[in-house]
């Protein structure tokens, strides 16, 4: 086997943490350790957000329930959304990317190890600040998009919203730092031979995601600063009742961020799918260029669809029509990807391990969420269904049935690389089936609840026909889902201690992260295989069938 050796390359900064014991976790600038810090932190917040979800479902289990007061209910659904989006899905993806991107492109570390550490700690500070509001006796309770004027001091006079704003600005700053770092790493530190068209698709998707972060998060931060100014300095930006401020301006700013945000949470999932599906179908991905290209199309279009969140505002008809068309257009590149994955699986030698199970469920559930999404792009349907449980069902199919399932596929796939041990397959199957049943039970009925008129964000509902039964089904589903999540967490813990030893490349995968030991040494690689195609390890193992015909060699004994 031919392998190119790597000259020892000086890291930008010397490691600061030799012999510090567990304190090293606080001073580390190693991308793998920072990745793990992100992942562990987001798993903690996942627990918090999950408990909030269960509280919501307990309150809604039966009509006219009084488990939570309306005030508490508002705070809990606001914090559930905020936590899951900003403190779970985003940092989980960024953490995994932090760990994997340098490995996948064959680099020693990221471009800015200290910026990377700063990004994590500022993000964590933001997460803590949002919840610090608890000590003032109030939590943010204006919903995750904090519409003005509800979020203004006149209507939310307690400090919860202020903590929410400051915390989000901080997580935003941290996230932008992480994005700059990932981009510079991908642009500058790819292994010799790794051209753009040989880059793993997860890296492609993280690159596009990082660009979206750069251009979506700063507008959010600008808007948050204006909102904070309104609340604390009595500025006039979004206060419609005084001298010309505009509440609709907040909606524009928020959704200019908010819709790209959906793709910040979806593109990394697409990237994980594009790594997992081919490996477990034993085929190269069908249409590599289309997966990368449609990702770029999604990234660009994501900035041109934000008004579809505002159809009910009463903007002009041409405006609604234009954004309706753009929103439907974005279904095209997304649909392309669905075909890429299904055609990759088609006639593949499928290996039904847990990662592929989650990936398969992702495709089906994400398509359901995508179809309801296209429905919402039609203005009249939006007018009928906006702010109903149909919306709740739609975005949970995208973000839980989609992003979270892809994340689980990715976790089962890369856990052996990170820990050196495989996750337990039997527990994994229990986790998978309970998650599929629990998830669909929780959220499918919410489509129907929305269609028959149940509004979202109400703390309780009268005993109308069907309401009680369907809400009870949803609540039972949520608890089944909770059991699935507990099994997953348990699997993470027991496999760490007792899992089967994985070896370097337990799945016979093809990308560079599998060319090093599990877990990788601090400097990542002893040797790098040559990169002549998107599947360097496949070329190495089968030089006679190398993906790039130029480098095919006769089989050796």
């Amino acid at each position: 086997m031919r392998q190119e050796s790597i000259a020892p390359h000086a890291l930008p900064f010397p490691p600061l943490n030799k012999g510090w014991g567990w304190l090293a976790w606080f001073s580390t600038t190693d991308h793998k350790k920072i990745g793990i810090l992100y992942m562990v932190t987001s798993l903690f917040f996942f627990g918090v957000g999950g408990i909030e979800a269960l509280l919501i479902r307990i309150q809604l289990a039966a009509p006219n329930a009084k488990v939570l007061t309306p005030q508490e209910y508002d705070a809990i659904f606001t914090m559930h959304g905020t936590t899951m989006i900003f403190l779970v899905v985003m940092p989980l993806f960024i953490g995994i990317a932090n760990y994997l991107v340098p490995l996948m492109i064959g680099a020693r570390d990221v471009a800015f190890p200290r910026l990377n550490a700063l990004g994590f700690w500022v993000f964590l500070l933001g997460g803590i600040v949002i919840y610090l509001a608890l000590f003032t006796g109030s939590l943010a309770d204006a919903g995750w998009f904090s519409y003005a004027p509800l979020s203004e001091a006149a209507y939310s006079s307690r400090p919860g919203v202020d903590y929410w704003i400051v915390g989000l600005i901080e997580t935003g700053v941290g996230t932008i730092g992480a994005a700059v770092n990932l981009l510079a790493t991908i642009v500058r530190y790819r292994a010799p031979g790794m051209t753009w068209r040989r880059m793993p698709l997860f890296v492609w998707m993280m690159m596009i995601t990082s660009l979206i972060i750069l251009y979506a998060l700063t507008p959010l931060n600008a808007g948050l600063i204006m909102l904070l100014g309104d609340r604390i300095l009595h500025l006039h930006f979004f206060r419609a009742n005084v001298s010309g401020g505009s509440a609709i301006l907040w909606q524009h700013i928020f959704w200019f961020f908010g819709h790209p945000e959906v793709y910040i949470m979806a593109l990394p999932a697409f990237g994980m799918m594009s790594e997992v599906v081919p490996v477990f179908s034993r085929k190269p991905i069908f249409g590599y260029t289309f997966v990368a290209g449609s990702g770029i199309a999604i990234g660009l279009l994501s900035f041109a669809v934000w008004v579809h969140h505002m159809f009910a505002v009463g903007l002009s008809t041409p405006m609604n029509a234009a954004f309706s068309a753009a929103s439907m257009l974005i279904a095209v590149p997304t649909g392309v990807k669905i075909f890429n994955w299904s055609t990759t699986m088609f006639r593949g030698r499928l290996r039904m391990d847990t990662p592929l199970l989650f990936a398969a469920a992702f495709i089906i559930q994400f398509v359901i969420g995508g179809i309801t999404g296209v429905m919402f792009a039609a203005v009249p349907i939006d007018w009928q269904l906006t702010d109903s449980y149909f919306v709740v069902a739609h975005f949970h199919y995208v973000l839980f049935g989609g992003s979270m399932f892809a994340l689980w596929a990715g976790v089962y796939y890369w856990y052996p690389k990170i820990t050196g041990r495989l996750m337990d397959e039997r527990l994994g199957r229990w986790h998978f089936w309970l998650a599929v049943i629990g998830f669909n039970m929780t959220f499918f009925v919410q489509h129907i609840l929305g269609l028959i008129g149940m509004p979202r964000r109400v703390y309780t509902y009268p005993n109308l026909p069907g309401y009680g039964t369907m809400n009870m089904i949803s609540t039972i589903g949520a608890f089944i889902l909770a059991i699935a999540v507990l099994l997953f967490l348990w699997n993470l813990v027991v496999s760490f201690r007792r899992g089967k030893v994985a070896g370097d490349n337990p799945w016979d995968a093809w990308t560079l992260e599998w060319a090093t030991t599990s877990p990788p040494p601090e400097h990542n690689f002893e040797k790098l295989p040559p990169v002549h195609s998107a599947r360097p390890l496949f070329d190495l193992a089968h030089p006679e069938m190398a993906d790039n015909p130029k480098y095919r060699t006769e089989a050796k004994a």
């Binding site: 680099a107 790819r190 010309g244």
Partner: protein, 193 residues
């Protein structure tokens, strides 16, 4: 034999600092675009206040100082590349001075507005105006701190050819701050007045 972090044929020849700074600046552009478009969006409610209270010719004069600082920092960079450290320090000091003159102009503008009672939270115009120009001012101050550090290091003899990317990235940032003011001045002093 190749190094793991070498550029080979795949990477660009720019180093990580320049790439990082350019990505960061591109992100900052969207921060200012948001402030600028909010200013434009709200301008319908401004009435005659901007016309009556903003001193356009004077601000234009002070803007010229900031615009010309892009030129002086370019001279500074050129001197740095040619190893003329004294000239480098001179042009850097000139850049800093021009930046300070610009800030003085902004301070005069603010003082006059506040004296006539147009404070930060007077109305929707003052909110938008002070936020937009204030954040630009903060960026100028940040730039001045960076320029000052660089000049200080040079005087201390601690700035060698190996720090080329520090000089380059700070210069990128300064050009950016300058360019933002072109947009801010156009929007706040020329279009929506």
């Amino acid at each position: 034999m190749t190094t793991a972090n070498s550029t080979a044929k795949t990477g660009t020849t720019m180093n990580r600092h320049k790439i990082g700074m350019l990505f960061f600046i591109s992100s900052e552009i969207f921060f200012f675009l948001t402030l600028l478009s909010s200013y434009a969006y709200l301008s319908g409610a401004f009435g005659n206040l901007p016309r009556e209270s903003l001193a356009v010719p004077r601000t234009f004069l002070f803007s010229l100082f900031l615009f010309s600082s892009s030129l002086t920092i370019w001279f500074a960079e050129r001197a740095f590349h040619r190893g003329r450290h004294a000239a480098f320090r001179g042009w850097m000091l000139a850049t800093i001075a021009l930046g300070l003159v610009f800030l003085t102009g902004q301070a005069i503008e603010y003082t006059e507005l506040i004296r006539t009672g147009i404070t930060l939270n007077y109305d929707v115009f003052s909110s938008a105006f002070f936020t937009l120009t204030g954040f630009h001012g903060l960026h100028v101050i940040t730039g001045l701190i960076m320029l000052g550090s660089l000049t200080g290091l040079s005087f201390a003899g601690k700035l060698g050819p190996e720090n080329e990317s520090a000089v380059a990235t700070i210069s990128y940032y300064w050009h950016f701050v300058d360019a933002v003011w072109v947009a801010v001045f156009t929007v706040a002093y020329l279009i929506f007045i």
